[in-house]
Amino acid sequence: MKLGILVNEGPYQHQASDSAYLFCRAALAKGHEIHRVFFYHDGVNNSTRLTEPPQDDRNIVARWSKLAAEHGVDLVVCVAAALRRGIKDENLAPGFRISGLGQLVETGIQSDRLVVFGD
C-alpha cells in the first residue's frame, strides 16, 4: 500500500512525531511504500538541524534524516508554517526539503491512505 503521512506536532513536546516515525518504520518493514511525510503546524520543527537533544535521548531529527537516506522517503516541510517558525533552507537537516501545501494535497491524491499524526 502507498501511504502518505502528515505530522502536525513538534518533536519532544508531543508523541505524534515519534508515533509517525515508528509507524513509517513498521510500514516499510511490512513492504509498504511511504509516498511522502509532510510536516505541518509545529511539525515543521522536526526538520531543524540545530536540534541538540541530550546524549541519552533519541535524536528525532537525525532519525528522520536517516529514514530518508536509507529508504528514500520524501520529507517535505510546509514553507508557510516553516517561515513562521524560523525554519529555512540554511538550518534544514539532511533529507528534508521545503515546499508548499500543494505537496500535502498531492500526497492525499496519490496515496492509498493519508495517515495524520497530531493532537
Binding site: 502536525n8 505541518y40 508554517a81 501545501l101 500535502l104 494535497v105 492525499g108 491524491i109 493519508l114
Partner: protein
C-alpha cells in the same frame, strides 16, 4: 491514481479559532485543496464550532481575525460545511450564531459522511 484525479477531502476542525494555530493553518490547506479542484468538505465539531461564531473580535489578543475567510469559501467552490448538532447544543449555540450557512447534522450522520471520504484530515 494520477495527480489530476478528484478525491473527496474532508477537513475536521476540532479546535477553538484562537489559542492554537490549528484552525488558521487548516483553513490554508482547505484553500489549496480547492485550488487542486478536489471535492472538499469541512466539518466543525467540539470547540471547532467556535471557528464559525459571529462577532469575533481579536484586537485585544493582537491576532488576526480570520473568520471572514469562511465567508469567502463559496468563491472557491467550497460549499459543503457541516456542523455537529451535539457540539453546538453543548455550547448553547444555534445556527443563527454562525457567520455562514451550514448543514447541522447529528454525530451519527457525520460518521456516515466521514466513511464516504477518500481523505480525512483532522485539525
Amino acid at each position: 491514481m494520477s495527480e489530476g484525479s478528484r478525491k473527496k477531502f474532508m477537513f475536521v476542525n476540532r479546535k477553538a479559532p484562537y489559542g492554537t494555530v490549528y484552525a488558521l493553518e487548516s483553513l490554508e490547506v482547505v484553500l489549496i485543496s480547492a485550488a487542486f479542484e478536489q471535492d472538499v468538505s469541512l466539518v466543525f465539531v467540539d470547540d471547532g464550532v467556535y471557528q464559525l461564531k459571529k462577532g469575533q473580535q481579536t484586537k485585544g489578543i493582537e491576532t488576526k481575525n480570520f473568520s471572514p475567510t469562511y465567508r469567502a469559501l463559496e468563491g472557491y467552490d467550497v460549499e459543503k460545511l457541516y456542523v455537529e448538532r451535539e457540539s453546538l447544543e453543548a455550547r448553547g449555540l444555534t445556527e443563527d450564531d454562525l457567520i455562514v450557512d451550514v448543514s447541522v447534522l447529528p454525530a451519527g450522520e457525520l460518521g456516515k459522511l466521514m466513511d464516504e471520504q477518500d481523505v480525512v484530515l483532522s485539525f
